[in-house]
Symmetry: C2
């Protein structure tokens, strides 16, 4: 059996970042920059006032005092957005609003609350330091500064910085298009009646949601147990998706393993199937299919196996398509509140509830790879290493918080 890391390395060795595209700022939300974004203008673009007040020559107020106030005529008024070239001549002042262009000549702004707020003339009862309440052009970001480096995922603050820097669009990797394929004759659509022998299909809903959570665009597809039909579907989807993810049909011996049967030896595909030393999720496969050699990740069909497999291999694959370096899965230690078991030679990912303070983790009942209840009620995976078969309550286990 291969270690988890070996299968992940196999996936990451093949996947290449998607071609970048110029995306508008809203389309770029959540996407990953494909090139450094550089400041083409200083931020702020011009000297401006940080307060509502009066733009002055500081020297005019040098002698101002509570008992000897200085009064200056208000020569003009500059609201934010005013683009006129205004000048403050010595012995006068100009009313100015927050964010407004600093008039030529002015070297300080006095906040309105430190004056009498006059409109024809204004009274000042203390001196002001040169540069006071002025934001200088470029004091946030100078021209030529790298605003954001290639590989940055664009959240609200990053989008804001790009907008403020005048970038109406950016070069970014678009969201990967992922086709999710569920296989098996036993599957019925949720919301329809069920007959014995059939189960309601959940994997395509789950995996499509997980793909979207990881920054991809997902479409859902279904196939039965006919290898020719599965192969035709894969061939079709491989031509219009960046990644295919199948679930089911990859176990270790049944002649009914439809995905294995469809892809093994198929001319259009180059696949390998492996046992990976993990539980749930031992049977795994990866390869490429179709004329564009689209990557294909074949996950096991038990829902919990499919979920854990997507977390370990699918999310990194989506990151790689978006040009992100693989990030190690973040494990933190937490104290087990109950004992756990694990098969020898396989790394277990058990479903558990991590306490809000992160100190303890409680393994849930129902750890079978078909038992979705425990998965849906969990907020964490408890990792039990390959060589460990039992851990006692009170021992510290590695825990992964689920997104």
């Amino acid at each position: 059996m291969d270690p988890v890391e070996a299968h992940l390395a196999r996936v990451l060795a093949v996947i290449r970042p998607l071609a970048p595209a110029r995306l508008g700022l809203e389309a770029a939300e959540g996407a990953v920059l494909a090139a450094d974004a550089v400041a083409v203008a200083p931020l702020p673009p011009f000297d401006n006032s940080s307060m509502d007040g009066y733009a002055v020559h500081a020297a005019d107020l040098a002698a101002a005092a509570e008992d000897a106030p200085v009064t200056l005529p208000v020569a003009d008024q500059v609201p934010a957005g005013d683009t006129r070239a205004v000048t403050v001549t010595p012995g006068t002042c100009v009313r100015i609003m927050t964010g407004a262009l600093l008039p030529a000549g002015a070297d300080a702004v006095v906040p309105v609350e430190m004056t009498d707020g006059g409109t024809g003339q204004a009274r000042f009862s203390q001196p002001v330091a040169k540069g006071s309440s002025i934001r200088r052009a470029g004091d946030d970001v100078a021209v030529g500064t790298v605003l954001l480096v290639e590989g940055t995922r664009l959240g609200p603050a990053q989008i804001a910085l790009l907008a403020a820097g005048g970038h109406g669009e950016v070069l970014a990797r678009p969201a990967p298009r992922v086709a999710v394929i569920g296989t098996g004759n036993e599957l019925s659509e949720p919301g329809t009646p069920l007959v014995p022998g059939r189960i309601w299909e959940s994997n395509t809903y789950m995996l499509a949601a997980a793909v979207r959570q990881a920054g991809g665009v997902a479409t859902r597809h279904r196939a039965g147990d006919d290898p020719q039909a599965v192969l035709a579907l894969i061939e079709d989807l491989a031509a219009r998706a960046d990644l295919l993810i199948t679930s089911g049909g990859v176990s270790m011996g049944g002649e009914h393993d439809v995905v294995k049967a469809a892809l093994s030896g198929a001319g259009i595909a180059d696949m390998a199937f492996h046992k990976v030393a993990m539980q749930p999720g031992m049977p795994q496969g990866f390869g490429v299919a179709g004329p564009y050699r689209t990557p294909v990740l074949t996950l096991p069909g038990n829902p919990v196996s499919a979920f854990v497999s997507f977390f370990l291999f699918g999310r990194p694959a989506l990151d790689a398509l978006q040009g992100l370096a693989p990030r190690p899965v973040r494990c933190r230690p937490a104290e087990l509140t109950a004992p756990v078991n694990s098969p020898a030679g396989r790394r277990s990912y058990l479903r558990g509830v991590l306490a809000p303070d992160g100190a303890t983790v409680t393994p849930l009942a129902g750890q079978g790879s078909h038992q979705l209840g425990a998965l849906a009620w969990a907020n964490a995976l408890i990792v039990v290493p390959e060589e460990v078969t039992a851990m006692a309550a009170g021992e510290a286990a590695d825990v992964i918080s689920l997104p």
Copy 2:
């Protein structure tokens, strides 16, 4: 000045959860359940095999041994999805696949790898315990079990459990529709040329992205500095949004505070404006507008102020619209790598970089409320309490990780 908590309480006292709707499973991704979802069928729905193998009467193999194997005729074959009513008669076995309906009479499944894998007949060289490799109906979830409680946000695993439980749609709160309005004559569209006195608009892009990140649907709108036009826009949007968020035009004295001017005393609105003891973001407002008394959150216009204000008041407002109880902001202590300052009487939210291990936090240069660079490069906010004006390197500060 009001404490942050007082302003938040004012917001949460007014906002009511949106009316629930029946949503399909894909539409429900990320939404919040508006009622408990109950299991209408057991999970699994029927006894089935957990392995590829042979369904048997365990008693038939009681004497099986390596040197005295038992051979049974293979009477039938049951793949997953087969809905026939098959029976295993004593002295025979039935080939069965993982997930397939357990034939009547069978009380154990022997995995194929423990047999000779025969098709006409199969050889067994050890006994099998009753119940072995059988998943019983309901062993994941029994009928009537609450699958998920009201107030659960539906991620991939929760969607999967609902699907597996046969729910084609669920009663959930739809994503709140949020109209984001930027105000000010100084704003130009990113990607267009700039003249001195104008800046590129970033707040509506930032706030719309933040709304989407918090589970809402956002539309972006712009207005200048004419109170009548701003009021007309607010009146229009209030009739077709669940929440309005404005930025700019709420400072403390300028006659150019367009949002304050538009909404103060307007017949269609019931607003209050306050100073909140925080930095950035002192000027805040909240109220309702329009015939449906749509909540209106008026944020300050400096981008960093708007960001922090949305984080503190807007995200909880979106949670409340989705029927989630207000969650306290999660603070963790981290050691400052450099000193910080904060104005007396105001709680500062400074931009910083939290180390990957969470042990230390580095305050960034450029803490002005207009300085988007530091915000975009930060991954955390450093909280300095109202009564503290300076903290030294090495002191432990409360830190909030940014989403």
